[in-house]
Symmetry: C2
Subunit: 457 residues, 2 copies
């Protein structure tokens, strides 16, 4: 509960028009893309760093929980205000402050949609590599909080590889700046990496300087289809193990192929057991050469068909179809869970086999989608949340999937984060001393525990 | 001072043969590559994590300073035991534990020499990108502590981009493991990046899992020479600004060219005002194409000569000559300081001009060497440390160089770190609240301040 006096002070900071405590607004901030719900007490839309600082001074003094949020696409409940308090929504603080392609960086506000940044950069022949599935909806601030990945992170790396500097409002309302515009910078602790992926539990990013990359002169999309899912997985391990690094390498099993074919209307190989969608980029001649090597590896591993997109449109359509997978799968049942286990790529075949076996044993409607080149598996599980027995089976299966992934040298989450959804499983990947160290750091930056409370730390 | 009882306990942890408190050993650990000296009380060579843990338990209980060290090549005094205590030397804890090229990682102990790791990897067709000037001498542990860079970090990134996981002994002797073998891993705070570059002030890395990269099929070295240093610098800004990303792009001014020519015996263009040494790697056809583009840019910017190394040996010789620069320059006078300011690449021309002007004004024997492609400038200053007036002038000039770099959007250090040498200048790049935040984190991980005390935090 926030008392009236504090509400009035918060209103003074941002003005009446960006402060809400009416039931409609509250309700629309009571969920993200995870299955739980929890209402905040108030919703505030800041547009300046000073406003965020002013809000934090009041929250700190009054012990009010603060949960930051962009577009709320998070699927680990990281943006859910489970302890109520303030939902701090950054969607109105969304400017592009500077585009500097000569020095290869941009400066942006946290509420900027990733896809909007891409449009601005594309005009200059540049792009920002992290491309989560939610690219056209999710914000840079949310991407930073979750250390977002995406298909092309296989070649280009994840969000933390691109954050050069940040302005951060601490829980006290103090404003710090970490990092610089320089790719090489070893002046003190690398705090930008600490905030990146901290899921809003350590501080509030109010500005980010991001490294950008020039768009390659040539792109090619390859589609390889298989009669055997194991062959599909073996191709992935073989290509990566041989030192070839495509921009992206996505795997879909039969279930996902068919769901995507239905949703997109594209003629995809419905009867195939597995499919790889591979993107290569670079200098034209290099792309041509790598394409041939990849096609050869695919055939060596039993692909029955390897085709190359002939036009940019055909390629764009294939990637657009891939992006439909989650949404399309989610329409099969009232709800859909996307898991996010990552394993070393040589264990992708074993992980896929184990996942299928677990799904069959628990009788789940599970499809396998994966950023396979970096071992990042996204099993999709369509289900009815009102079916308690099914939920119970999903819970058991997820636990087995996590344990299997970890036993194969993998980890709990490749890009979706821990949030609330996976907090209980953290001991699978770190010992108590490591958990204590995270808790100590949390306590140092947020002594009262008001920043996104109730989550993994 | 360490009391006899503690000494005896420390000896029990590692055995008599890896514990030293005799004057000869003490003396040889009283300096690194910076100009100051300070003797430790004892020198210990651990070979297991458990030994490091055992040592830290004693040090923590008895409040004994612990300064870690590899080969002692640090030039910011980061490995100098300024508060005495234990010099913990890792050169005997230097195994390669696992090489896994299929999953693109290696697991190593901290005392392994970077160059030794490169040899092992080269046999498999792989390499570990960070290549500091000290590559054949410095250890992976030291590289991690300083977040080392090097020429090819222009294309490939610095040490923190390659540390996937670490085992770290905390000040209490507790052992934590952070990160995993997976490139994509968002399970809690990214602690590996916090330890990386912390200069031994937060914990002791006892094992590291490093990402490795396959060696490109083709490499080419280009040499461009200029009659005007400004044209040299403009070429750098032009190439990078146009989106081309060579593996390395090194700049030398006339002073450095001549020193390197003398030391290497190679026929370098002694009368040139500036020289660029550029490495391109990738698929053969792409390298050929980029080489032509780079040569064109160089000529457009006034290069009087652009040549390509014809053989691998010629290329190797050029890079070996480049590696001689620091050592050769250091032989010009009793001592040599290497500065390490980094600026956004578009400001490289301005920074070089300003540096030359400052050097002339203070009558310094200064040569300019730079990892120019990422704006990382290394002015070399040969001097006599017994000449107090000269030292005073160097101090003033260095301050002006730092201030100029920062005013051009740059930072204090690109790869050498802060240590003791630059601690006083940190307020140039961060406000008091940011400094306080670093101090808070230090206090959380090292409450008594015994890990590498007396340094930047």
């Amino acid at each position: 509960m926030i008392n009236e006096e504090s509400k009035s002070q918060l209103k003074q900071v941002v003005g009446e028009e960006r402060f809400f405590d009416d039931p409609e607004e509250i309700l629309s901030f009571s969920y993200d893309a995870f299955i739980l719900t929890s209402e905040p007490d108030v919703v505030i839309y800041p547009i300046t760093t000073e406003e965020v600082s002013g809000i934090m001074k009041i929250a700190d003094r009054e012990n009010i929980p603060v949960t930051c949020r962009g577009s709320g696409t998070n699927i680990s409940a990281a943006s859910l205000p489970v302890k109520k308090g303030i939902a701090l929504c950054f969607t109105k603080m969304n400017r592009v402050i500077e585009v500097n392609t000569q020095d290869r960086y941009v400066i942006v506000e946290p509420g900027l949609i990733n896809g909007e940044l891409q449009k601005v950069l594309a005009q200059e022949g540049f792009f920002y590599p992290p491309d989560p599935g939610s690219i056209n909806v999710s914000t840079i601030g949310g991407n930073i909080a979750q250390n977002a990945g995406g298909p092309r992170c296989l070649k280009y790396g994840v969000t933390s590889d691109y954050v050069l500097a940040m302005e951060v409002v601490l829980v006290s309302g103090k404003i710090v700046r970490v990092g610089s515009r320089n790719v090489k910078d070893v002046t003190g602790y690398k705090l930008s990496s600490l905030f990146c992926g901290s899921e809003g539990t350590l501080g509030i990013v109010t500005e980010a300087t991001l490294r950008v990359v020039s768009i390659a002169e040539s792109h090619r999309t390859i589609l390889a289809t298989y009669d055997d899912l194991e062959d599909t997985a073996n191709t992935v391990a073989d290509i990566i193990g041989s030192g070839i690094l495509p921009a992206a390498m996505e795997l879909m099993d039969k279930t996902v192929i068919n769901v995507v074919a239905d949703a997109s209307g594209m003629s995809l190989p419905r009867e195939a057991a597995g499919m790889l969608l591979i993107e290569i980029d670079g200098v034209e001649e290099a792309v041509e050469k790598e394409m041939n090597r990849i096609a050869e590896k695919a055939r060596d591993n039993g692909a029955r068909d390897v085709t190359v997109a002939h036009t940019q449109k055909e390629s764009d359509d294939l990637w657009a179809a891939r992006r439909l997978a989650y949404g399309a799968f989610a329409r099969l049942a009232p709800n859909c869970i996307v898991e996010d286990v990552t394993v070393p790529v040589s264990n992708v075949p074993k992980m896929i086999k184990a996942t299928r076996e677990i799904a069959d044993r628990y009788k789940l409607h599970l499809g396998i989608l994966a950023h396979a080149g970096d071992g990042n598996m996204h099993p999709l599980i369509a289900h009815d949340p009102n079916d308690k027995d099914e939920l119970k089976r999903i819970e058991q299966a997820a636990k087995e999937i996590f344990e299997t992934g970890v036993s194969l040298g993998g980890t709990l989450s490749g890009e979706h984060g821990i949030g609330l959804a996976k907090a209980e499983f953290l001991p699978l990947v770190m010992n108590q001393d490591t958990l204590d160290l995270m808790a100590d750091i949390k306590k140092t930056l947020d002594p009262k525990g008001i920043l996104n409370p109730g989550k993994f730390v």
